[in-house]
């Protein structure tokens, strides 16, 4: 049986919240040994955020958020107030191939773990910092939180309904985006090190990484000196192009009516004719208001009203199935319940991970979005409880049982 591609690679993981953990999650997925350096004195923010299985915060190990993004990693608990704890971290760094952090620029230096210090003892180390603003430039010490990076990047000013203020992306998009790009960057550095023996430092700014996703907006400005207008879900070259309201979920959830929508795109006039037939209104294909793209764009409000009239009484998944059968791009606008409960596709592809976690038991988690035929990858273990692997990692680093006990006694492992 072939080994996963990063077997034998060790990662000293100083990350927290989301961007950094999403980076090391990819590396863990690929088979690297990822050891999180954590502390009970200031636990990872996501350990203290919902969802919790009993609806209340009564343990640092029960957060679905933390448990999602730390699958397959180990947790070592250290309190850096004690020099002995720093010594443990140094041993971990010396054994590691890669050091990852996502603090604001300069924080690792203040902790004593800056690149220059590490390089002195481990010249071929690969180190990456996924900071909000990068290591240089006048704002390099500014603080960045996940949700604020989306508006900072420029994505918000481009996103929104026509005539409405800028909108968000709905999630802290710049975080996982930086994380996955960071994993890519680490892999390129590992490739280079394998070829040449040289390590290196990688300065990643979450802000810059997100701007790579909006080249169309930036080029509208550099080419034509214009700020692109926000235009909801519409597209200049395709119509209809949007999300259309369907039947609400029949039962209420937590006293809320759950609305459901279907996403539909017609790429050309032939698609529109197919949609007209699928809606049982073939005459609309030749209707001068809708026959050509230009006409559909000019009458897009009416067009969307007609499509909505057809979708509104139907189930969102049934509309999508019907339209796919007719050869049209459509999909349910999935929410977490639909994704999790739907056994027709993702579940059949064995994407979900269902491992037994010591405190929350078996819960469905998102898995690995790729399959490798030669060096198969799989999630090895559920996310670690805080400090779960402290003894195991210390033993690996050469500490005797007596030494571990004395570290524990002085509080270095808190």
């Amino acid at each position: 049986m072939a080994k996963p591609p990063l077997s034998g690679i060790k990662i000293a993981d100083f990350t927290w919240v989301w961007a950094g953990p999403y980076c090391t999650l990819q590396l863990a997925h690929l088979g690297a040994e990822v050891t999180r350096i954590e502390t009970k004195t200031r636990p990872c923010v996501t350990r203290m955020l919902p969802p919790w299985p009993d609806g209340k915060f009564d343990s640092l190990n029960k957060s679905g958020y933390f448990n999602q993004y730390n699958q397959g990693k180990k947790s070592l608990s250290l309190n850096f107030k004690h020099p002995e704890a720093k010594e443990v971290a140094w041993r971990l760094i010396k054994e590691a191939d890669v050091v990852v952090n996502n603090f604001a620029s300069g924080v690792m230096e203040k902790m004593g773990f800056g690149y220059e210090a590490i390089r002195k003892v481990k010249p071929d180390i690969i180190m990456i910092s996924l900071s909000g603003y990068g290591d240089t430039g006048p704002y390099h010490e500014y603080v960045a939180y996940g949700p604020a990076q989306v508006p900072l990047s420029g994505l918000s000013s481009l996103t929104g309904y026509k005539g409405f203020p800028p909108m968000h992306a709905g999630f802290s998009y710049a975080d996982p985006n930086a994380g996955v790009h960071g994993a890519f960057a680490v892999l390129a550095a590992l490739y280079h090190r394998k070829k040449t023996g040289e390590g290196q430092y990688i300065d990643m700014s979450q802000w810059e990484c997100a701007m790579g996703l909006l080249a169309e907006g930036i080029l509208e400005y550099t080419m034509n000196g214009r700020e692109p207008e926000r235009n909801g879900n519409r597209d200049p070259l395709m119509a209809p192009h949007g999300n259309f309201k369907c039947q609400d979920l029949p039962e209420k959830v937590m006293d809320m009516t759950i609305d459901r929508w279907v996403s539909i795109v017609c790429t050309d006039d032939a698609d529109w004719a197919r949609l007209a037939r699928a809606m049982g209104r073939p005459e609309l294909a030749d209707d001068p208001r809708f026959k050509t793209l230009q006409a559909r764009k000019a009458n897009e409000d009416d067009l969307e009203a007609i499509v909505t009239e057809w979708t509104r009484p139907q189930r969102f998944d049934e509309v999508a199935e019907k339209l796919q059968a007719a050869g049209i791009a459509a999909a349910p606008v999935a929410d977490n319940k639909y994704l999790c409960d739907d056994e027709t596709h993702i579940a059949q592809r064995k994407y979900w991970v269902e491992l037994n976690h010591p405190e929350v038991g078996i819960k469905r988690h998102a898995g690995i979005p790729w399959r490798m035929s030669g060096t198969p990858t799989a999630v090895k273990a559920p996310a670690p409880c805080l400090g779960q692997h402290t003894d195991e990692v210390l033993a690996r680093l050469g500490y005797s049982n007596a030494e571990i006990e004395s570290l524990r006694k002085i509080g270095a492992l808190d």
Binding site: W18, P50, T136, F164, G170, P176, L187, I218, V265, A330
Partner: protein, 402 residues
């Protein structure tokens, strides 16, 4: 110094965003990428724009020029048997084949890993498909919006409870494509690394839907953990975490931790209302947001974006401006870091583009050449690399293969 990936030879059969973005990530670190386009029309990204002066032109599309700099371009119709044979020949000399040919089209033209493996057992072939290569939705037609929606993020964004009639909202641009591309680059490069350790080539399959579902923050787990549905219509658990209008633009207020709120109150000059019981912690501020919002809007509306941003950051409060494109291009910070890069293209001219997403201290990220014109490198690749005679190339051109 050469880029970290300068010894990798890559073949890209990519259209629009996902496979081309994957190819771009590798090309910008030095890999030699040959991009295969359909004869005649080329990559549909060439029709997308933005275009200088809004004049549509296949060599002037901003999206295409951005995604395909540093690549060589050839034309090849893989729907014709002779085209597929040439693709095999090219794959025989490549390390990696990246593509986003849709699964039904793969079946139609006979593009399979087994076929490529026969000509090159060390080849890494990466298939990016909207719903993956298995399961009942394998052959579903998809556009960027429909996959973004199917992955579960669209439902999180939109009007909120006060505008429940407005639909779940897509994020600007082709985000499903970008995420498909970067999530494909990760296992692709891991496979290249494994090859250095003695592994053979392999097939990698990436589902764009799964790449999106992999980044739903804490929202996905709300169902398996608490049987709660996360939607744009829910109330925020913590406030203020909102966009608000200033005198001259918009700022994003972000008080997640209590010390951040206290810092904000100080910046506002400790107004009396801030001491009210209903604003005492982040949870009560969310419950009483309708009242709090009125106070905040009044104060924020009298100040400029930059004023609030700088004062907040001075107190380690992570506010951020809602950047316009002009703000980005004029940012002193981004200028000091040299983020934007100028690329000169023979037909499109010289423009500024987004630059490096990461800075390596040793190996460079660099733009070595602009995006190819359609079929620009046909002679070099078919003649030089594959050794076809000019007569044979002319014949293939007549048949519409090239």
């Amino acid at each position: 110094m050469a880029g970290a990936l300068s010894d990798l030879k890559i073949l890209e059969v990519g259209e629009m965003v996902s496979a081309p973005y994957c190819g771009k990530l590798l090309a910008d670190l030095g890999a030699d990428v040959v991009k295969v386009e359909r004869p005649g029309v080329g990559d549909p990204a060439r029709t997308r724009g933005p275009f200088p002066r809004d004049e549509a032109h296949p060599e002037k599309s901003g999206l295409f020029l951005y995604l395909n700099a540093n690549k060589k371009g050839i034309t090849l119709d893989i729907a014709q048997p002779e085209g597929m044979e040439l693709l095999e020949k090219l794959a025989a000399g490549a390390d990696i084949l990246i593509h986003n040919v849709t699964p039904p089209d793969m079946d139609r033209v006979g593009l399979t890993y087994d076929r490529m493996k026969r000509v090159n057992p060390d080849l890494i072939m990466t298939t990016i498909a909207p719903f993956g290569l298995s399961g009942p939705k394998r052959n579903w037609r998809a556009e960027d919006l429909t996959v973004w929606a199917a992955g579960g993020v669209c439902v999180l964004n939109g009007g909120g409870p006060e505008h429940a009639d407005l639909p779940p909202l897509k994020t600007f641009g082709h985000q499903a494509g970008y995420q498909g591309g970067v999530h494909a680059a990760v296992p692709t490069l891991a496979a290249a690394f494994a090859r250095l350790n003695g592994e053979a080539g392999q097939h990698i399959e990436v589902s764009v839907q799964e790449a999106i579902t992999s980044q739903l923050e804490m929202t996905f787990e709300y169902w398996p953990y608490m049987k709660m549905i996360a939607t744009r219509l829910g109330q925020k658990p913590i406030q203020p975490v909102e966009t608000m209008r200033c005198k001259d633009g918009y700022i994003y207020l972000c008080c997640i931790e209590e010390h951040q709120w206290r810092g904000f109150v100080e910046i506002m000059g400790n107004p009396e209302w801030a001491g009210e019981e209903i604003f005492k912690d982040r949870l009560t501020r969310a419950l009483n947001w309708d009242v709090l919002k009125v106070f905040l809007e009044e104060w924020v509306g009298q100040h400029t974006v930059l004023d609030i941003y700088r004062k907040a950051q001075a107190k380690r409060v992570p506010f951020a401006p809602v950047s316009t494109m002009g703000d980005l291009l004029n940012s002193e910070h981004l200028k000091a870091r040299g983020f934007f890069v100028e690329i000169t293209h023979p037909v499109a001219g010289t423009w500024k583009y987004p630059g490096a997403p990461l800075k390596y201290h040793r190996t460079p990220w660099e733009i070595r050449m602009p995006a190819p014109t359609l079929g620009q490198h046909n002679s070099e690749i078919f003649g030089g690399r594959l050794g076809l005679t000019q007569a044979r190339i002319d014949e293939l051109k007549r048949k519409g293969v090239i």
